[in-house]
Amino acid sequence: MTAKHMHFLANPARFLRIARPATGWLLSVGVVLTAVGVVSGLTFTPPDYLQGETVRIMYIHVPAAWLGMLGWAGIAAAAISQLVWRHPLATVAGRAFAPCGATFAAICLITGSIWGRPTWGTWWEWDGRLTSMLVLFFLYLGYIALAASERERGGEGRLAALFGLVGAINLPIIHYSVLWWRTLHQGESITLTGTTIAPSILWPLPLTMLGFTCLFAAGSLMLMRAQLAQLRIEARIRREARA
């Protein structure tokens, strides 16, 4: 999304005109793509020659890791938009991305742990990738608590925005952790230039990636709409109290 698009959508009324139909579409497309990807991953692909059937955990673990990181990237983008341009929707967007990102970061950690037991022989290891992902999950919890406390005090959410920006330092750490600390977690299997995964195993992954991303977007839009409605209620109550 370009800065021009961001400025265009920053108007709440304009945003809601697009968000209302988009929520249903994203939810429907997300459910269909995820279901097709999950069923294909569980039934139509062969087991891996080394990992056996457990390789199928990849179809949910990889999208969860991607969305856990995307959620925080969204928070950081919203924080810049809030601090630089004071967009009215930026605070709402940051607060909506947080529970969605936290959920997918938790899914990534739990499914990774379940995958680790038969593959590595342990549920958990203080490896660079696992630890930095756990830090991301705790950052989400901190952001949610900070944003809620600022909202309760009637603040603009600037502290939470700053926290969101500073926390973004963890994103490159997660990405490069497998190169900087070579321990248990495997290196990069999928890069911009290619992949080391066999095509016969890989093909359902784009379906679940896109499907879960649509579901993440639908969840974020629903939470943004909930907050905008809540703000309308509070504004109305304040107007009535003054009258």
């Binding site: 929520t23 939810l27 995820t34 999950v38 569980l42 056996g52 059937e53 457990t54 199928r56 955990i57 949910i60 673990h61 969860a64 529970p99 969605c100 959920t103 938790a106 899914i107 739990i110 499914t111 379940i114 995958w115 037991r117 038969p118 879960f212 579901l215 639908a218 969840g219 629903m222 939470l223 709409r225 909930a226 907050q227 409605a229 809540q230 309308r232 209620i233 109305r236 109550i237």
Partner: protein, 43 residues
């Protein structure tokens, strides 16, 4: 332990957590929008 037990456990976690997130988000949205509409239509 059978490898499928790990696969099923991982999928169960992912599906339940995603469905839970969407259900809670949907409920929050419906409640807030219904309340806002009720206030708007109040005379």
């Amino acid at each position: 332990m059978n490898q499928w037990a790990f696969v099923i456990a991982a999928y169960a976690v992912a599906i339940i957590a995603t469905a839970g997130l969407l259900a809670l988000s949907f409920r929050a949205m419906r409640r807030a929008e219904a309340e806002a509409e009720k206030l708007k239509n109040r005379k």
